[in-house]
């Protein structure tokens, strides 16, 4: 149980750090859009020394979608946090755990594919979406598949437990 508590604390720390960053970014975005935060006309937003204004609208939309998939990682963290909290209160074989592991799996696979896709289409975007994370996408897909398998294992374990409980 001590190990679960350590893991719970680490996950909680990463979770609150992510949420704080998202909230700050959201308010900066809101401030910029509403004009509360003044942006200099000379300000140029660039990634990998490429100006974002040089991209076409479609390229910008694809770039936004690819980066928004990373929000799924934070959602997965939230789901994993729920799992750890359930483990901590000894609720191990319930539907929430099975559902969450399954969802985490699919989320990781989607993000993994987004990373791989970023690597492939990077030259089309003047390397603006090149993220230097070679193999990370494959790793995420593997972790996602493992999570789905884990969900299936928990499903079988739940049935076994029910049968065991109904053995008088």
């Amino acid at each position: 149980m001590k190990k679960i508590k350590i893991l719970k604390n680490i996950i909680d720390f990463i979770w609150w750090l992510s949420i704080t960053a998202i909230v700050i970014l959201f308010f900066i975005l809101l401030g910029t859009l509403t004009g509360i935060i003044e942006v200099s006309p000379n300000f140029r937003f660039s990634i990998n020394e490429t100006d974002l204004d040089n991209l076409t609208k479609i390229q910008q939309i694809i770039l936004i979608i690819l980066h928004l998939t990373k929000l799924l990682l934070i959602y997965s963290l939230y789901l994993f946090r729920q799992i750890i909290h359930n483990f901590n209160s000894l609720k191990i074989f319930n539907n929430l755990i099975i559902k969450n592991f399954n969802l985490i799996g699919y989320n990781l696979i989607v993000v993994g594919f987004a990373f791989i896709l970023s690597d492939f289409i990077a030259p089309l975007f003047n390397n603006i979406i090149y993220m230097n994370f070679h193999g990370f996408g494959v790793g995420l897909i593997s972790a996602g598949l493992f999570s789905i398998v884990l969900s299936e294992i928990f499903k079988i374990a739940k049935t076994q437990k029910q049968e065991n409980d109904l053995t008088i």
Partner: protein, 68 residues
């Protein structure tokens, strides 16, 4: 269900209450209720032995096979 539990009938024949039987064989009344209602997935030999001993009967008096 193919296997029918006739525990109610045996209890009535022996004029014994479920609570008494549960105390004698050492299981909870909730578990005995699961057994009586036919919701149980399996029964241990030790439990069957204890029931037979307490009710002075044979396993066939408690369990019966009926075709669906």
């Amino acid at each position: 269900m193919a296997i029918v539990v006739n525990l109610d009938v045996m209890l009535a024949k022996r004029k014994m209450k479920s609570k008494e039987l549960a105390e004698i064989i050492g299981i909870t009344t909730a578990n005995l209720s699961i057994l009586k209602s036919g919701k149980a997935k399996a029964i241990r030999f030790s439990t069957l032995e204890a029931i037979c001993e307490a009710l002075d009967c044979q396993p066939a008096d408690i369990l019966e096979f009926k075709e669906n």
